[in-house]
């Protein structure tokens, strides 16, 4: 630590920290228009000048690092004047004169500028007025007060040139370069914070300008609309389009993104009960200052008027509005009738991976305590329980202590097993890139990446060029590749002996063959060599990131076991901290932790549907889930639900399951709720309400606790659901759910920091045999059907099958390998049909080299999960589903 003096105050800071950050952290103001915290300085704006005793002339505080006994002054007349002159040079190229105008607070946007009648664009009419860093900088440097005006007495040359054209061609951002001060923060945010490199400084001299991609529109570049550049832009040049001309926020609420299990913490700005803007909130240290397009822009994917605002009850073919009371009473009556006639086991419950812990907790309480049925699950339950079981068998516990922040901070070798992590878990992929290509200060040693995926994604580009490798198996052979890797590792004498010492039996994994996995032998050997090095360097952190597919339980289970084996061989007992499972949806871990899983002889969701078809299960309560959308074998799901005597759905949206229900009880929007989520590494994070409840909608916890109370009364058992607010449920969870004891809802201390895991747990580790079937060749005219979570499609929008669920329309089609396309005479944009027996799906073809030959890819959420119709119901097979691909005749 260095001790230094800033404006007479003695402060402490780490040796070598950038002075500008230290000044700001200690509550002093220093203009710094080109600096981005944590990144190397750019030193382009020169507005951060300060006086340092003993130094010649004024110094840039962004390039200066602190040392002991430094005496810094930010407020002398010299410093102020120097900064004013520098700023006036920047102002001279900015299209605004309000900056130095004493009248600004009196002017209204419609007024003509009283100082200069040729001024058309100005702060008063600018969407960033009063929330603009350039403006604030001018104010704080007294540019107006001291009349430091670059344009004083000037001919109005600036206004003679036509302003550059703004780019308003995409749904997410507006880029209006007339306000740009060429600070290059956006360029560096995109390069160094995001590793995307979609923005550049083009040209030179006076014609220098910010450009995207190859100089075209933003949406033609490789920008993925994370908005990181918007956050750092000190002017109105880059702004969120849905917010730019909209009402300012009334207030900000800190909550959690609901679109994947990374669980980025976000601040939702809202007005009149509507979210109007989202910014990252660094409560979750893993997401820190970043989010992805879903977190930032999906808040308005579904209009408030498209949400359920009324409770509904079935009358014939129609769902008719009813009151909450009546909906509840009718549900209770019907459930009690089923209970009386067929017993508790004729009733089943589904929770949801996008519902809060509180809601899931209540669902299982009603099931277990009130009804006494063991049939409890959620659509994503079987897949994720299979992974949890494999994890528990490998590591002795399914709640692994590994902390995701280890990946960017320490991991030296990273193995990713995922479809396309960049798309499914964007910020996790980002943090992996941070480890591979470190750009933030203090720079860490770069790590190496191995990616296993059949489909090329952006993360693959971070493997080979950085000394890693991308292993591309034949679709469905992920477990096979992992098995082959494990066997290569087990063949290493040192690894084998270390494994034996740790109590593992390497014989379990040896002799697996890479022959039929489709992976190139040299690439496989390269990956094994990297992993051997990782195993040998015991003090270096290893991370294995596994993002299971959402369907195909058997295949996922084998991949999970095979992945755990590799982690164990590399890290031995330390593997519990190196194995990371990233479920698709936001609160899968919460749902599992709350006990939304069948008991003993209870049935899982597939069993429940089978039983509904067979007439054993007669009633189903679904809270927040949508099995028709999420489960494969859609026709069978629909048929099973249609057989029920009573289907009660509690949901925010009238999705397809709700449309088949007898009672639909309207739930509040996720961003209108209080509660908690547990993310991938079981960080338990708070949701806080930022959005009004449409119409009669009530947060599901209220509905469920009323349903529990009334059902208990009707069934004559004395179970109490005495909650005044969601917090009371949380409080009960902290008393009753293992791992959650450490949280106290009312004391906010610890939220976002604590994780529901026992960090000291040391379980029994074991290698597990993996069953890998050789890949079957495609039949005549067939292709392998790959599906996965894609980046742009909003789950909520997709649930309602909105045409704009993917506002960019990048994902509403099928990806076809370009060589296959040529062979079949398919051109880009043609309609093709995917067929599986009677089920058909017609889609627009996009040609690509990213999907392997003999396979096609469809976003799993496209059009309400329409692809589910082509996927076989869970059948215990690890085979990849096949469909016929034909060109649609015009």
């Amino acid at each position: 630590m260095a001790k230094l003096t800033i404006n007479g105050k003695t402060v402490e800071a780490p040796d070598g920290a950038p002075l500008v950050e230290v000044i700001k952290q200690n509550g002093f103001y220093v203009s710094n228009l080109c600096y981005i915290d944590k990144l190397p300085p750019y030193a382009g704006c020169r507005t951060c000048l300060v006086e340092i005793e003993g130094a010649r002339g004024l110094q840039l505080s962004c390039t200066t690092t602190v040392r002991d006994d430094m005496v810094v002054n930010t407020v002398t007349d010299d410093v102020k004047q120097a900064r004013q002159y520098v700023l006036s040079v920047i102002d001279a190229n900015h299209s605004d004169r309000c900056l130095t105008c004493h009248r600004r607070v009196k002017c209204m946007p419609g007024d003509i500028c009283l100082r200069d009648d040729s001024v058309t664009h100005r702060c008063l009419t600018c969407s960033k007025n009063y929330r603009c860093e350039l403006q604030t900088t001018n104010d704080l440097l007294d540019m107006g007060k001291d009349s430091v005006e670059p344009w004083a007495g000037e001919e109005r040359t600036y206004y003679e040139a036509a302003p550059p054209e703004p780019d308003r061609g995409n749904p997410f951002f507006e880029f209006d370069p007339q306000m740009c001060i060429i600070c290059t923060r956006c360029v560096r945010a995109c390069d160094d914070l995001r590793h995307t490199g979609a923005v550049t400084l083009a040209g030179r001299g006076f014609s220098t300008a910010i450009a995207f991609g190859a100089g075209g529109a933003i949406d033609e570049s490789n920008c993925d609309f994370c908005g990181s550049c918007i956050d750092v832009c000190p002017t109105a040049t880059l702004m969120e389009r849905p917010n730019k001309w909209l009402a300012r926020t009334e207030d900000w609420v800190s909550t959690v993104c609901n679109s994947c299990s990374v669980g980025c913490t976000i601040s939702v700005g809202h007005r009149d009960g509507k979210p109007v803007i989202v910014k990252p909130d660094s409560l979750n240290p893993f997401s820190d200052d970043q989010i992805c397009v879903r977190g930032r822009f999906h808040y308005d994917a579904v209009k408030q008027s498209d949400r359920l605002a009324q409770h509904l009850v079935r009358s014939g073919d129609n769902l008719q509005p009813t009151t909450w009371e009546e909906a509840l009473d009718y549900s209770v009556e019907q459930l009690a009738a089923v209970h009386a006639a067929h017993g508790a086991k004729a009733i089943a419950f589904l929770g949801s991976p996008i519902a809060t812990n509180e809601e899931n907790y209540l669902v299982q309480r009603i099931a277990r305590e009130v009804v006494g049925t063991p049939h409890i699950d959620f659509s994503a339950g079987p897949v994720n329980r299979a992974v949890a079981q494999a994890t528990a068998a490998a590591f002795g516990t399914e709640t692994l202590p590994g902390d995701l922040t280890d990946i960017p901070e320490r991991a030296k070798t990273i193995l990713v097993v995922a479809d396309d992590l960049e798309e499914s878990h964007n910020v996790a992929a980002l943090r992996i890139k941070d480890a591979i290509d470190p750009r933030k200060l203090p720079l860490r040693e770069p790590g190496r990446l191995i990616v296993i995926t059949a489909r090329r994604g952006e993360l693959c580009d971070f493997a080979e060029p950085y000394g890693g490798v991308w292993l591309q198996p034949t679709p469905g052979q992920e477990a096979g590749v992992l098995g082959a890797l494990a066997s290569l590792l087990a063949d290493d004498a040192e690894i084998a002996s270390a494994a034996s010492e740790a109590g593992l039996d390497p014989a379990v994994v040896s002799a697996a063959d890479a022959g039929s996995t489709g992976v190139d032998g040299a690439a496989l050997e390269h990956a094994a060599a990297i992993l051997r090095e990782a195993a040998a360097a015991a003090d270096e952190a290893f991370a294995l990131v596994f993002a299971p597919k959402s369907t195909g339980v058997a295949g996922v289970a084998e991949s999970a076991k095979a992945a755990a084996n590799v982690a164990l061989l590399v890290s031995g007992t330390a593997a519990t901290r190196s194995f990371f499972v990233l479920p698709t949806e936001a609160n899968v871990n919460g749902a599992l932790d709350m006990g939304v899983s069948p008991d003993g002889d209870g049935k899982d969701v597939n069993g429940i549907l089978e039983a509904a078809l067979g007439g054993e299960v007669k009633a189903l309560v679904v809270a927040g889930d949508n099995p028709i959308m999420h489960l494969p074998g859609r026709a069978r799901v629909q048929e099973a639900l249609a057989k029920l005597d009573i289907l009660v759905v509690v949901d925010q949206l009238l999705g397809e399951t709700a449309q088949q229900a007898h009672v639909v009880i309207a739930d509040a929007p996720t961003y209108g709720k209080d509660g908690t989520f547990a993310n991938a590494d079981r960080r338990v994070q708070r949701l806080r309400a930022a959005q009004a409840h449409p119409g009669d909608a009530k947060p599901a916890w209220e509905t469920l606790s009323a349903l529990g109370t009334r059902l208990a009364a009707s069934l004559g058992n004395a179970v109490a659901f005495a909650y005044e607010e969601a917090a009371d449920v949380t409080e009960e969870i902290t008393r009753t759910v293992p791992g959650y004891e450490k949280f106290q809802f009312h004391g906010y201390f610890g939220w976002g920091k604590g994780r529901a895991v026992d960090e000291s747990a040391a379980g029994q580790i074991a290698l597990q045999p993996v069953a890998v079937d050789a890949p079957a060749p495609n039949g005549e005219g067939e292709v392998a059907l790959l599906t996965g979570r894609t980046l742009y499609t909003s789950l909520e929008g997709a649930t309602l099958r909105l045409a704009d669920a993917d506002k960019l329309h990048r994902e509403d089609g099928v990806l076809v390998n370009q060589l296959d396309a040529v062979a079949l005479g398919i051109s880009a944009g043609d309609n093709v049909v995917l067929q599986d027996g009677a089920a058909e799906l017609s889609l627009k073809a996009t040609l690509t080299a990213d999907v392997p030959q003999g396979a096609v890819f469809v976003s799993s959420y496209y059009d309400g999960g329409a692809v589910g119709a082509l996927l076989p119901a869970e059948n215990g097979s690890t085979a990849v589903p096949r469909v016929k691909l034909v060109k649609q005749q015009a």
């Binding site: 040209g203 030179r204 190859a214 100089g215 570049s221």
Partner: protein, 158 residues
């Protein structure tokens, strides 16, 4: 990206270049040598070959004045932006050129027959203010001379 014949050709052209090897400028030069300019598709191909963002390639290509992103015109008119010409009224010359030809600096007429280019002083300030038509110095020019010359050039370029 679907591989059209043109992109395939560019791919072959830059196949020798490697990532992390300071090959970007060589690749851009090679492409420009072959086509006379750097076509937009080429930036994508080079970016992929060198594992760079397309924006990185674009930023570089626009930084160097000898690299151009549009096809070269059949006939090029250089307008001298130097100080001597400026003092002797080159601004008027520029305005006339731009308005008569209907194109700005670094732009071509639609048929690519004629293009304007902003040039630096070449030391022949005796003839200031001047332009160079296909490299040949024409000057000193009055605004009226320029109008006449520009009209002729325009007619030729039809």
């Amino acid at each position: 990206m679907l591989e059209t014949e043109a992109t395939l050709e560019i791919q072959q052209l830059v196949a020798e270049f490697r990532p992390g090897n300071a090959d970007l400028l060589r690749a851009l030069h090679k492409v420009q040598h072959r086509y006379g300019y750097v076509p937009k598709e080429a930036m994508g191909v080079i970016a992929r070959q060198l594992r760079l963002g397309e924006a990185h390639v674009y930023g570089t290509a626009t930084f160097y004045s000898e690299l151009r992103l549009t096809p070269p015109p059949e006939k090029r008119v250089d307008w001298c932006s130097g100080p001597a010409c400026r003092l002797k009224g080159s601004t008027h010359v520029r305005k006339v050129l731009e308005s008569v030809l209907g194109i700005g600096m670094e732009e071509n007429t639609e048929n690519d027959k004629l293009g304007l280019h902003l040039a630096q002083c070449n030391g022949t300030c005796d003839f200031a203010p001047q332009i160079w038509v296909d490299g040949k110095v024409v000057g000193p020019l009055t605004a009226a001379d320029t109008v006449k010359l520009a009209r002729e050039l325009k007619d030729e370029a039809k």
